[in-house]
């Protein structure tokens, strides 16, 4: 059903872009699957760089967070074979590279959360932390981790 929903949304998933050795893109363990941190890569692998509150607007950041979410979905799909093996999203951690004093982390992170709810519906609801940080890999503005519960019959 989530595969059909993805198709209906018309989203072209980027990647998957797995991390370098010895990291795993996704760890599947005891009924859950957890991604590595996902940067906001487009289908060609490009991503914006810079800090929220200096180089990027909150809207730019939300768009980047949405892109991160599609990267996480792409990793999960590659690891699980199908998104239909997912029962629900559990939690999302969103890291936001920002200047001192920037306080709109929730609005940035909403870009990811809303994308996951669009795709998974009620099963896309999740707990979340939105965390401002000084720097992320390669100066990306946003990075997210996603943990999902897997269907027992999946």
């Amino acid at each position: 059903m989530f595969e059909a929903r993805l198709e209906a949304l018309g989203v072209e998933l980027p990647g998957p872009f797995p991390p370098h050795d010895p990291l795993d893109a996704v760890v599947v363990h005891r009924g859950t699957a957890r991604t590595s941190g996902c940067l906001p890569r487009d289908v060609e692998g490009h991503f914006p760089v810079g800090l929220l509150g200096r180089d990027l607007t909150t809207g730019d950041g939300a768009a980047a967070a949405e892109c991160c979410a599609w990267n996480a979905v792409s990793l999960l799909r590659a690891a699980l074979g199908t998104l239909d093996g997912i029962e629900r999203v559990l939690t999302v951690s969103v890291f936001i590279a920002c200047v001192d004093g920037f306080a709109e982390q929730p609005q940035v992170a909403d870009g990811a959360s809303q994308a996951l709810v669009r795709l998974f519906g009620a099963a896309g609801r999740h707990t979340r932390s939105a965390i401002g940080v000084a720097a992320l890999p390669r100066k990306a503005p946003v990075e997210i981790e996603v943990t999902v519960a897997l269907r027992r019959d999946g």
């Binding site: 487009d42 490009h46 810079g50 890999p137 390669r138």
Partner: protein, 236 residues
């Protein structure tokens, strides 16, 4: 790591007109490239400064810079005075040039430019993975690569390679489809990276770096950092 603001500057020129919004596709990677080039500059003791439009680059900034890194394409609008300053300062050994990826596909209206970057772009008939032959492993840009380096990129073809260019990386022709549209067989084969001295100055060129993965690759960034370090005389 921070660099003292008084350290010499590296100017990173990323002017890609007319392709910034065009079909060449070079150039979504420029922001990521700027991150990598800034790291390489700091390793060489230089303060990076990005230049999106050379028309806004003042004479003093060009006169004071220690290195000029070019990730350009098309007719970069250098003024006659800027061209003269670059050529003079390179030949005096005061300004190093690092030509990155498409920089050889620029400035066709500047006759001397090809000599300053070492060759002219002559198409890229191939985009593929290759086992690059490390022709000269005794250089800071290649010492970490071993005899052969597996790499995926646009594979450029060149004309007018300087005879005195020290070729660092080259693609064995057997790895390329020489019947591909636009493919030629230049006498010097298919170099990807080289360096040379121009009077008292140094120039390093690498045609690699099209894809975002390059700018996250430690091997590529060491290649670039080694080339820049050599060009400014920080490493030999």
């Amino acid at each position: 790591m921070t660099t003292e603001p008084t350290s010499p500057r590296l100017l990173f020129v990323t002017q890609v007109a007319p392709y910034s919004d065009g079909p060449a596709g070079v150039h979504g990677v420029l922001d990521q490239a700027a991150v990598g080039v800034a790291e390489c500059a700091e390793l060489a003791g230089l303060t990076p400064h990005r230049v999106d439009d050379v028309r806004g680059l003042g004479a003093a900034a060009l006169e004071d810079a220690r290195a000029l890194a070019l990730f350009t394409i098309g007719e970069t609008p250098w003024s006659d005075a800027q061209r003269a300053t670059i050529a003079r300062r390179v030949r005096a050994g005061d300004l190093a040039i690092v030509a990155i990826h498409s920089a050889t596909d620029a400035c066709y209206g500047w006759d001397d430019y090809g000599r300053l970057v070492g060759a002219r772009f002559d198409g890229h008939p191939w985009t593929q993975s290759v086992d690059v032959a490390v022709e000269d492993p005794d250089h800071p840009a290649t010492r970490h690569l071993g005899a052969s380096w597996r790499w995926h990129d646009e594979v450029y073809q060149f004309r007018d390679l300087r005879p005195d260019a020290r070729v660092l990386l080259r693609v064995p022709p057997a790895q390329l489809d020489l019947t591909a549209t636009g493919a030629k067989q230049p006498s010097f084969g298919f170099p990807l990276s080289w360096c040379f001295t121009e009077a008292n100055g140094r120039v390093f060129s690498t045609s690699l770096g099209h894809f975002p993965a390059a700018w996250e690759s430690p091997a590529y960034l060491r290649h670039l950092a080694g080339g820049l370090g050599w060009a400014v005389g920080a490493v030999e």
